[in-house]
C-alpha cells in the first residue's frame, strides 16, 4: 500500500512538474522545472527496476539536457539584449496561438484511446527476457541491459553513436555560437573544477567497468565524462591550440569508428556483422565501451560548447 502510494505520488508529481515546466510563463523557471522533472523521472526509473536508465536519465536527460537548455537560454537572452525591442520578457511569455482548448479536445481523446490500449495489454508478458536470459551466458557480460546494448542489438548502438556524431556535425556545420567567456570564472569555480575532474574521471571509469555486471556502462560513463567537460568549459578551460583539429575529431569519431571496425573484423572472422565469439565477447565489449565512453563524453561536451572549437588565439 505504501509502495503504491509512493508510486502514485511520484506519477502525479511527474505530471504536475511536466505541466508546470510546459506552461510556466517564465522560461528560466520552465527549464529549472524541466530539470526537476528529469530528476523525478530518474526516481521513476528506479521504481521501475531500471537503474541503468536512471543513471542515464540523471546524467543525460536531466543533467546535460538541462545544461544545454540553460546555456541556450542564456545565449538567447544575450542575443535579445542587443536589440531594444526584444529585450522585454514578453518575448518569452508562454504565447499561445489560438484558443488553448482547441487542441485539448482531440488530445483528450488520444489520452483516452492510448490509455485504454495500454490498459488492454495483458498483465503478464515476458517480451524477450527469456531469450536474453538464455543467451546471457555467451554474451560476454552479465548485465542484461549491457548485453542487449552491446551484443544482441549492438547494431542499434552503433547507429546511435552515429546519431550523436551527426548531431555534432550538424551543430558545427551551423556555425553555432561558441560558448563565450564573458566573465572570469573566478577562483572558486576554477578550484572546484580542478578538484572534481579527477573524481568525475574516476566515476566514469568505475561506471564503465561495472557496466559489465551491474548498472552502468558506456553511456552513463560517457555522460559523466561529458559533465566533467561541461564543468571544465564553464570554468574557462579551452582546448589547447593544435588539439582542436584532428586529435579532437579522432576522439569524437573513436566510438562509432571502433564499432564499425569491430563490425567489419567480426564479419570477416565469424561471418556475421558484430558476431563475437563467446571467448572474445567480453574483451570486445569492453573495448567498444571504452572508445564509446570517450567519444560520448567528448561529443556531449562539444555539443555544450556549441560552435566549432577554434584555436584560442583566433577565438576572440
Amino acid at each position: 500500500m505504501l509502495q503504491w502510494a509512493l508510486d502514485a505520488l511520484l506519477g502525479l508529481g511527474l505530471l504536475w512538474l511536466a505541466w508546470c515546466a510546459l506552461m510556466s510563463p517564465n522560461l528560466l523557471k520552465a527549464i529549472v522545472l524541466f530539470v526537476a522533472f528529469g530528476l523525478l523521472m530518474a526516481l521513476a526509473w528506479v521504481r521501475l527496476d531500471a537503474p541503468d536508465i536512471a543513471l542515464a536519465e540523471a546524467a543525460i536527460g536531466a543533467g546535460l539536457t538541462g545544461a544545454l537548455l540553460l546555456a541556450a537560454l542564456a545565449r538567447l537572452r544575450f542575443a535579445y539584449a542587443d536589440e531594444e525591442t526584444v529585450g522585454s520578457p514578453a518575448q518569452e511569455e508562454a504565447k499561445v496561438r489560438f484558443p488553448q482548448w482547441l487542441p485539448a479536445v482531440p488530445l483528450l481523446l488520444v489520452v483516452a484511446g492510448l490509455g485504454y490500449v495500454v490498459l488492454s495489454l495483458p498483465p503478464y508478458a515476458t517480451g524477450l527476457s527469456t531469450e536474453v536470459t538464455a543467451n546471457l551466458e555467451s554474451s560476454g557480460v552479465s548485465n542484461p541491459v549491457t548485453a542487449v546494448l552491446l551484443n544482441f542489438r549492438g547494431y542499434d548502438t552503433l547507429l546511435e553513436l552515429v546519431v550523436l556524431l551527426v548531431a555534432l556535425l550538424g551543430v558545427w556545420s551551423l556555425d553555432g555560437l561558441a560558448l563565450g567567456r564573458e566573465t572570469a570564472p573566478g577562483p572558486v569555480l576554477d578550484t572546484l573544477s580542478r578538484f572534481l575532474t579527477p573524481v568525475f574521471i574516476l566515476v566514469a571509469a568505475y561506471l564503465l567497468w561495472v557496466g559489465a555486471h551491474a548498472p552502468g556502462g558506456a553511456f552513463q560513463a560517457g555522460s559523466v565524462l561529458g559533465a566533467a567537460g561541461v564543468l571544465l568549459l564553464l570554468a574557462g578551460w579551452r582546448f589547447r591550440a593544435g588539439l582542436t583539429e584532428l586529435p579532437l575529431r579522432l576522439v569524437l569519431v573513436a566510438g562509432p569508428g571502433a564499432f564499425v571496425i569491430v563490425a567489419l573484423v567480426t564479419m570477416l572472422m565469424e561471418g556475421q556483422l558484430l558476431e563475437y565469439s563467446p571467448e572474445q565477447a567480453s574483451i570486445l565489449i569492453l573495448f567498444l565501451e571504452t572508445t564509446a565512453t570517450f567519444s560520448i563524453g567528448a561529443t556531449l561536451a562539444a555539443l555544450f560548447f556549441g560552435g566549432r572549437p577554434q584555436d584560442d588565439k583566433e577565438h576572440t
Binding site: T183, V188, L189, L196, V199
Partner: protein, 99 residues
C-alpha cells in the same frame, strides 16, 4: 527494531527537520543572500544527519565510504554554487537586504 534502528530514526528525523528549516528559509527570507544562507547551512547539516542515519544501517564499509563521499561532494558543490550564485547576484548589482 534494534537500538541502532532507533538511532537511525532519530538522525533521519533530525535531518528532515533541518531540511524543513532550510526550505522554510528559502521561502520566507527576504533576499537572495539570506536565502542562500538558510538553504546551504541547513541543507548541508540536514544531509549530513541523513547520511549518518543511513551509515548506521550500512552493510559494508564500502557503502559507508560511498555515503560519506556523497556528503562530501554535495558539501563541495553546495558551497561552490552558493558562492557563485552570491557572486553573480553581487555582480548584477543586487543590493544586500537591510532592515
Amino acid at each position: 527494531m534494534i537500538p541502532s534502528d532507533y538511532l537511525s530514526v532519530a538522525l533521519l528525523i533530525a535531518g528532515a527537520i533541518f531540511f524543513l528549516a532550510g526550505t522554510l528559509g528559502l521561502l520566507r527570507f527576504p533576499d537572495v543572500y539570506t536565502r542562500l544562507h538558510a538553504l546551504t547551512k541547513a541543507d548541508n547539516v540536514g544531509l549530513g544527519l541523513i547520511v549518518m542515519g543511513l551509515v548506521v544501517q550500512a552493510e559494508s564499509w564500502a557503502a559507508v565510504g560511498k555515503l560519506l563521499l556523497i556528503w562530501v561532494l554535495v558539501l563541495l558543490a553546495g558551497a561552490s554554487v552558493a558562492h557563485l550564485v552570491a557572486r553573480g547576484a553581487l555582480q548584477r548589482g543586487i543590493r544586500l537586504w537591510k532592515r
